[in-house]
Symmetry: C2
Amino acid sequence: MPQSVISRLTRYLAHVQTLCAQDIKWISSQDIADNLGLTSSTVRQDLSYLDFSGVSKRGYETGGLEKVLSAILGADVQWKMVVVGAGNLGKALALHEEFSRRGFNIVGIFDADPKKIGKKVGDLAIMGQREIPMVIAENKVDIGVIAVPSSSAQSVADMLIMSGIKGLLNLALTHIVAPKHIPVVDSRVVASLLELSHTLKFGR
Amino acid sequence: MPQSVISRLTRYLAHVQTLCAQDIKWISSQDIADNLGLTSSTVRQDLSYLDFSGVSKRGYETGGLEKVLSAILGADVQWKMVVVGAGNLGKALALHEEFSRRGFNIVGIFDADPKKIGKKVGDLAIMGQREIPMVIAENKVDIGVIAVPSSSAQSVADMLIMSGIKGLLNLALTHIVAPKHIPVVDSRVVASLLELSHTLKFGR
């Protein structure tokens, strides 16, 4: 499935979850399209990747759609994560309840600064980075979140990869090089702001 | 310029800034491509949008490239921002030094919770949401950052738009509907994690 489709499916899931919470039982591809600023043919094409059909004149049943979207996005699986970097961003992520609600469970938070070690972030005590390999091995951690400054992002990624992590979420501004079998997803707030500033400066 | 090109240009800028900081004076399209996991023809094509040429056998001069990339991305402009939502994520963003270093200056942070009003986030005191229109008008604020729960994201967006904001950075998981002339950029960490979990579950 193309990355662009996966990316839109995450938005459909968020929208369908909102509808389910509001007890709305049916949604048309046109409704989804209008709500997310897409065309209904894009939505229909994307949803054709799923093993789920709409019903003529009613559209898609929201509960069923949520289930298949969750399954295809792996949102029905429980994942174990560690966060490296207990700065403001790392702490915010470790405390963000949206993660655990969606099956992303943080089992450890680490920092290079000895003064931070032992301090609490929610229920977790900050650990030193030398404990990363042990925590990852003992807990069979799936995902490493990199919330350190750009200058140390690559060395932290290397340490996580050597410790047996399966995938990385990179919050640093810099690019991270990883072997082909380790997926790296970038989530860069500053990059989003630069996209916005281009649009504000030059229009669309 | 297509959105995908703008998105890659933000990554070239981050990379070139790193090189400049390391005093590296020349970079080839192949170097950029290798470092960011792209093909050199994509890089050359993207850079052809810029009013900047490479030099045969040496490549691109990093200082000049940084300047034109900054200009095209609006990174050479000073922008005024407000952050709505003084939860963990909103506070982390308000304290993130990367913003001001790149010309994104936060002039106000707001929260709906009366208990938070008056508390300090860095140099800023948290204000109540009813002060949003006044602060935006008085400071001619350009960008509103939405760091509130999904359930109130749209009403906060509406208030920011009515107050005269020019663009929105949406950190909530939900989609935001805005008039055509107000660009909205989503930066959704949870969505990035869902993309990662799809890849971990099904491979690429």
